[in-house]
């Protein structure tokens, strides 16, 4: 077990220099680990130096061997032995320093990745509903995985590699020039071409890669939706249509994939060709010089070895350029997310929520979704409910019932008017207090892939078994659970046992009850539960209902009948309000709805037509 390194420091590191360019910010983050940074830079310099000594040593060895032929004495043999030993020691040291360089660079990269991982997680969890409504969850996950990877790789593949390549190529060229300028020119003639070629290609590869990702994302969506909605696909004999969609997306992706293969191959073949051509030239020109006596065989070997050693770095220039480009785009996306303002958070002077009489009050509440400000969803809703009261809400689809429910825990902020609990505007109290006090049983509930017990105790992971069983009991789920082989230990959720719609809704009721909220909202969360079970749930919660405000959104009027007050919502307005009996007596829309549910349709329609 490892003790987490300070997550606060990690978050601070990830948020440093907000607003600056991504490369600068990533580099700044690496400086938060000065020791690792220094070790890796120093190791890189040493490893590069050692790497360059090897061709010199090899060349010297060849010359000494040839010298031996002419003057085979003790000192010459000793010198050769010394060269061999140096070669061995230099090789070992090079290995050790390369290891140090690689390991510290990766270590540093992973630490930067760790900080960003925490920051991304933290941010996605704090950004409000309106952000998540707009963004595709798949894209966010990709950002958290692939873009993070791109940033993490920056230090080793871009930063350190730049140092390494600069030293290798620069010093390597200098050494070659010092031995023989003409031959050095011949040997290095391939370098600018390859460097340019590989950088240009890598940038193009990167552009096509991004494009390919987009095309593959389309393909993924086609497949995912097809499999998720397989019943609809089958029900409408969508086979051909779906295959058509698939083939179209697939062909677009494949075309680009082919293009990329061609790009890559053209590039790597051309680079190999020019490299070997230069090597052939060196052999030819250098050979001529050896014959002419102006170069030794050892020096020629040095040149040829240098070329083999320099081949890699020159090719890698392209990778380096690519790594910078990648870190730039990935970093921009990651930092854009991190810099995004959290729309709903504690006001600077937020106070703890103090619950007294437990009165929930809507005062002329107006609301429009941030991405459609011109179409208001709620137009002046006002009502009030105190502890122990139940308010029923009914209305046609799209009338704003779910929207209204989501305003209470501040999933969205009202555009006008106020919502208050015991006189405290919910925008002025601490968000965690508020969300603990106000809970919504969502219409479509998300289950976490874990045990039933963990799911029920989600809001209160410290809860005792008894309380969990109690909540499951209230939600009429306990009997079902203890009938399962693993009982409360059964894993549910996306990758677990699948529950029916009604069971999911009951689970979601149970976990909300665990929260012991002061305001409990059922947002159409009993549609898949039969009325008898629903009545039992209601009865089981009767006692606790005295200690809180309950809001019930439902279509089945039997669920609302017992409410202290019923609101009929239409187009974001409360059009009727009163108790069940009052509303029936009023003979308005609620009464019509009631008539529809209890009596044969024809009579009701006839009656309504009479009334006109």
């Amino acid at each position: 077990m490892t003790a987490p390194s300070d997550p606060e420091a990690a978050l601070r590191s990830a948020h440093r220099e907000a607003g600056q360019g991504p490369i600068r910010r990533i580099t700044r983050m690496t400086l938060d680990h000065p020791l690792l940074f220094t070790i890796s830079v120093v190791s890189t310099l040493i490893a590069a130096g050692l790497q360059l000594t090897i061709p010199l040593l090899l060349g010297r060895a060849v010359d000494q061997t040839q010298g031996l032929l002419e003057r085979p004495d003790e000192t010459a043999q000793g010198a050769l032995l010394l060269t061999a030993l140096t070669l061995l020691v230099v090789s070992i040291l090079r290995g050790v320093f390369t290891m140090a360089q690689n390991y510290t660079a990766e270590n540093l990269g992973h630490r930067v990745g760790y900080a960003l991982r925490l920051a991304v997680y933290d941010k996605t969890q704090r950004l409000s509903f309106s952000f998540h409504d707009k963004s595709h969850s798949g894209d966010l996950v990709t950002l958290g995985i692939l873009d993070l990877e791109g940033v993490r790789m920056y230090f080793s593949t871009a930063f350190i590699r730049t140092i390494l390549l600069t030293v290798l190529i620069g010093v390597g060229a200098a050494v070659m020039v010092s031995i023989d300028p003409v031959l050095a020119l011949v040997a290095l003639c391939f370098a600018p071409f390859v460097a340019w070629r590989s950088s240009a290609t890598q940038l193009r590869m990167r552009a096509t890669w991004l494009e390919l990702q987009d095309r593959l994302a389309v393909l993924t969506r086609v497949m995912e939706e097809n499999l998720g909605g397989i019943r609809v696909v089958r029900a409408f004999a969508g086979f051909r249509h779906e295959m058509f969609k698939f083939d179209r997306a697939s062909a677009r992706a494949m075309q680009l994939a082919f293009h990329r293969v061609a790009l890559r191959v053209r590039n790597s073949s051309a680079m190999t060709l020019s490299f070997f051509a230069a090597m052939g030239l060196v052999l030819w020109v250098g050979g001529g010089k050896v014959i002419a006596g102006s170069l030794t065989v050892g020096e020629l070997t040095t040149f040829l070895t240098f070329m083999t050693i320099l081949q890699m770095p020159v090719r890698q220039l392209g990778l380096m350029v690519n790594a910078f480009a990648r870190a730039g785009t990935c970093g921009r996306r990651v930092f854009d997310l991190l810099d995004r303002e959290v729309e709903i958070e504690d006001a600077p002077d937020a106070k703890p929520l103090e619950i007294g009489a437990g009165t929930l009050r809507f005062e002329d509440v107006h609301f429009a979704y941030p991405d459609a400000p011109e179409s208001p969803i709620l137009n002046g809703v006002s009502f009030e409910a105190t502890r122990g009261e139940t308010v029923g809400i009914v209305g046609p689809p799209g009338s704003g019932k779910s929207t209204l429910s989501h305003l209470i825990p501040r999933f969205y902020d009202v555009t006008d008017g106020t919502i208050s609990i015991d006189g405290q505007d919910i925008r002025n109290v601490r968000l965690d207090d508020l969300r603990r006090a106000a809970a919504v049983v969502q219409q479509d509930s998300f289950l976490f892939t874990t045990t039933l017990e963990n799911n029920i105790a989600y809001a209160d992971p410290w809860a005792t078994d008894t309380r969990i069983a109690g909540a499951a009991g209230s939600a009429q789920l306990h009997d079902y659970i203890i009938g399962l082989p693993e009982q409360y230990g059964t894993v549910v959720g996306e990758r677990g046992v699948s529950l029916s719609g009604g069971q999911r809704q009951r689970l979601s009721i149970a976990r909300t009850v665990m929260q012991r909220p002061n305001v409990l909202v059922f947002d159409d969360s009993t549609a898949a539960i039969d009325a008898a079970t629903e009545a039992r749930i209601r009865a089981a919660m009767e006692e606790e209902a005295d200690s809180r405000v309950t809001l019930i959104v439902a279509h089945r009027l039997a669920s609302l009948m017992h409410a202290d007050r019923i609101l009929f919502l239409d187009k974001g307005r409360v059009v009727e309000e009163g108790t069940h009996d009052e509303l029936l007596a009023k003979g308005g829309r609620y009464a019509a709805l009631h008539a529809l549910q209890t009596r044969p349709e024809d009579d009701v329609i006839a009656e309504m037509e009479d009334a006109r």
């Binding site: 290891m99 689809p397 219409q443 990758r495």
Partner: protein, 633 residues
């Protein structure tokens, strides 16, 4: 509890010092086998079928790899020849040097051609195979019985279609490269032995050492790599879950606890990565040391051999070049070994899906159900169960005459949805037959069944795209007027018009920017536009208020004119409007008839009806169980 969960479960949360022992973040991911056997004949055989269409290109690539490798071996030899016969000693021969340069040039050109051919054909074949396998799987999934799809999560299938298919691509590329590496390794050894056997044997002495080191290293390193990979996918899984479930997380105020758990998880992942990195890097100095030894030996021993006139200087130089190369193939071969194993595990999983038998298929001589068939539906002694031992429907027989609307009534779990699924042949019956338009559904094509039967399912599933595209999902050629007419009929037109771009508005992820009821209305309109002979509604109005439902019912009365309707509903008002009613209970048909007939018959239906509940759902469970009819409300 899994190990991972135990780990996270015992961590402290700083919040108030207590342990949230029940809190986990995304740790229940069932890890899949990462490595399989190196070679699994069955899997390779299955995958080979996908490669076969491109086999000429594969052989070409193999030939190119061999040529390429041969050139790699040749180049140091040319250098050696240049040094020994062109440069060294007194008998230097400029002619030989020119000759060498020409040979070098030729080798370079052949090398270029071969690497071009190899990379191009392998790259393309691998892409082709990747897309082919994916398409074959996707197509297969379109035909596989829903029994399989019911049991398998989408996420799991997606990882087949993406990860596993990708690793097959990697496998193909690796295969060809491995051939090259093996040949290169043996080639280097052979050439060195040929150049000078004693020196070669001494130098090659380091190879067994390297192999020994790798044998000790591999299992440990692999365990570390696997651990890092798993930790990584766990932490990514937790992130994905957090993003998908963010509304629930915020609603239940779990951000702080989750962040702490996630911190631990991310930190463990960091440690796992560092461990793997240490294993990977430890090989660097080892290989470098061995290279150093080999070079030192070449210099010392080679030097004294040159002195003793038993070795040419050029051979020594060639040795130096070969030594720098021969660790590469060993390194990449051990790498490829893991790729192969991973590919076998993936191939195994792919084969599993590809080999799921199609139990619901069109007969070779299947008929087309035509649009002018009469639309009758008949259940003839049908018995069916998802698990054959546990029938969900037992000996069901009833007829729906052309143009009739029949309501299917019964408590939850009585088998209504299952019966509807059989009409569409989502599943095949175990006994008896389902006939549509007088034809056994097993004798007609599934495509034509889908065309003539439109369904509205309880869960409204919408696709990415505009509202318009969604409504005309079945009938892409439907005119805009038809779409508007259908939307108007179900009362969806007004809200669609109010959307920012009306019918062209793009829906969010699964229609997220619409309310659930609105999504349901759109799925209704979609069924209307399909213009099928038979319309099946499965509790399609659960999320809709009664008033809207009534509007839909009225629309349906027009739509159902001349069509056959099968309706599962709860509200007595809707049910009473049907021509006939079939009452199901525990998978058996207990009565059928018109409302009047059933009332007269005095069975379950009349009892329920007389209890004056608005809907069958409202009837207490015990009242249904009570067959004696003694229940009074």
């Amino acid at each position: 509890m899994s190990g991972a969960e135990m780990e996270t479960a015992t961590n402290d949360v700083r919040d108030d010092g207590r342990r949230p022992f029940r809190a986990v973040v995304g740790s229940h991911r069932v890890e899949e086998e990462m490595f399989g056997r190196v070679f699994d004949g069955k899997v390779v055989g299955r995958i080979w079928k996908f490669v076969e269409p491109y086999k000429s290109r594969v052989w070409l690539a193999c030939a190119a790899v061999l040529t390429f490798t041969a050139m790699q071996l040749l180049i140091p030899l040319i250098i050696r020849y240049a040094i020994d016969s062109g440069l060294a000693g007194e008998d230097a021969n400029p002619g030989a040097l020119v000759w060498c340069a020409l040979a070098f040039g030729a080798a370079v050109l052949v090398n270029f051609g071969a690497s071009w051919v190899q990379e191009m054909s392998v790259g393309r074949v691998a892409e082709n195979v990747l897309f082919d396998i994916r398409r074959a799987m996707f197509e297969h999934l379109q035909r596989i019985s829903l029994k399989f799809m019911d049991k398998t999560e989408v996420g799991r299938l997606m990882s087949r279609l993406q990860g596993d298919v990708n690793s097959m691509q990697e496998f193909l590329e690796t295969c060809v490269l491995s051939i090259g590496d093996i040949v290169l390794l043996f080639g280097i050894v052979a050439v060195m032995l040929w150049l000078d056997a004693p020196l070669a044997l001494m130098v090659l002495g380091v190879i067994p050492t390297l192999f020994l080191v790798r044998i000790v290293w591999l299992p440990r390193a692999r365990a570390a790599f696997t651990a890092a990979h798993e930790a990584n996918s766990r932490v990514n899984g937790a992130l994905a879950e957090a993003i998908h479930g963010v509304r629930a997380v915020q609603g239940m105020e779990r951000e702080r606890v989750n962040f702490d758990l996630y911190t631990t998880m991310a930190y463990d992942t960091l440690q796992a990565h560092l461990r793997a990195s240490r294993y990977a890097q430890i090989m660097v100095p080892i290989v470098d040391t061995l290279t150093g030894i080999a070079m030192a030996v070449t210099v010392v021993v080679g030097g004294s051999m040159v002195l003793g006139q038993t070795l040419d200087v050029g051979v020594m130089v060639a040795f130096i070049f070969y030594i720098q190369r021969f660790f590469d193939p060993i390194r990449s071969l051990t790498m490829q070994y893991s790729v192969m194993q991973r590919a076998m595990a993936s191939g195994q999983r792919l084969t599993e899906v590809l080999d799921v038998e199609l139990d619901v298929t069109d007969k070779p001589d299947a008929l087309e159900l035509t649009h002018d068939m009469d639309g009758r539906v008949e259940f003839d002694h049908v018995t069916f169960g998802y698990d054959p031992d546990k029938p969900v429907l037992t000996d069901i027989s009833f007829k729906v005459n052309p143009g009739e609307t029949v309501a299917l009534v019964g408590p939850t779990g009585s088998g209504k949805s299952s019966a509807m699924a059989l009409i569409h042949r989502f599943y095949d019956v175990d006994e008896g037959a389902v006939r549509v338009g007088g034809q056994d559904v097993r004798d007609v094509t599934q495509e034509s069944l889908g065309r003539e039967i439109a369904m509205v399912l309880q869960e409204p599933f919408l696709f990415t795209g505009s509202v318009l595209e969604n409504i005309r999902y079945r009938k892409t050629e439907a005119s805009f007027e038809e779409v508007v007419a259908a939307a108007t009929a179900v009362g969806a037109h007004d809200f669609i018009e109010a959307l920012p771009q009306g019918y062209e508005t793009q829906l969010g992820e699964r229609g997220g920017n619409l309310s659930l009821g609105q999504r349901q209305l759109i799925s209704f309109a979609r069924a209307l536009v399909a213009d099928a002979r038979i319309l099946v509604l499965d509790e399609a109005t659960a999320n809709i208020d009664s008033y809207t439902e009534m509007q839909i019912q009225k629309a349906l009365q027009t739509v159902l004119e001349g069509r056959t309707g099968l309706v599962i509903a709860h509200r007595l008002a809707t049910i009473r409007g049907a021509d006939r009613i079939a009452v199901l209970q525990e998978g058996r048909l207990v009565e059928t008839g018109t409302h009047g007939e059933l009332m007269e018959h005095g069975g379950l239906y009349s009892r329920l009806y007389n209890m004056n509940y608005a809907s069958f759902d409202d009837v207490p469970q015990d009242a249904i169980q009570d067959d004696e009819g003694s229940f009074r409300s």
